[in-house]
Symmetry: C2
Subunit: 113 residues, 2 copies
DNA sequence: ACATATAAATGTTGTCGACATATAGATGTG
DNA sequence: CACATCTATATGTCGACAACATTTATATGT
């Protein structure tokens, strides 16, 4: 059982990028810090990044003159920053809904709380 | 934008049924009380109830000798009650994750909080 | 008589996450 | 050197679930 929050990886990515540009593989590291219990699916992460780029949420380019495998560096656009704000608001609202629900029904797990 | 919690209707139904048996249409009323902003999809609700019955979470039978259109009355099984407990635990955990995230990033919406 | 509310159900479609696989350069090790 | 492993990006496929639409049927209000 898990109460999965749909698309929650998106605000995690937005938060990570709001601290400055990085590339996909590093982003996966940041996400792991937030959700240590579940391993990040890199395939889905890259797919998400490309879809976010299609929507103008992030912008990317191949990093040049860097050692190692070629990396694509992502950074937030203005649209992305505004989306981040919207996510924060939405998460607050969701959190309130859950909190109210737990207040009304949270004594169901006898002996754990 | 909405931070949708996947399958959140399920714990709502479980909570409603834990207060006693009812039928699908009444359940929709209870759900509306919890999520007034979004209208409940009755089609999906009935589909969900059937699937929950397949999984042994609820049990149902046609109500007899009742006026009006024939109703199917649902009640929780033991499995359903345990699932409800599991949902509570999972929701607590999700709530903690969101809360931590908001504590670190919640000052993004300038002038609203 | 006609519209609307109650009640249950199916069909169809799109989005997203889970899992698998492909490609390729860099680095470590026997 | 050969081979494994790590870093890095990307696509293919599948299934679960929500959104939206439509169907059937009874009861009630005007």
């Amino acid at each position: 059982m898990a109460a999965r929050l749909e698309r929650f990886n998106e605000p995690l990515v937005l938060a990570a990028l709001s601290a400055g540009p990085t590339h996909g593989y590093d982003l996966a590291e940041s996400l792991r810090a937030w959700v240590p219990e579940e391993q990040i699916d890199l395939g889905n992460l890259y797919r998400m990044l490309r879809s976010m780029e299609d929507d103008g949420i992030v912008r990317s380019e191949w990093s040049e003159n860097e050692p190692g495998r070629a990396k694509r560096t992502y950074e937030l656009t203005d649209v992305g920053e505004r989306l981040f704000d919207a996510w924060i608001t939405a998460l607050r609202s969701t959190n309130n809904t859950i909190t109210e629900f737990l207040q009304e029904h949270g004594d169901e797990t006898k002996g754990i709380a």
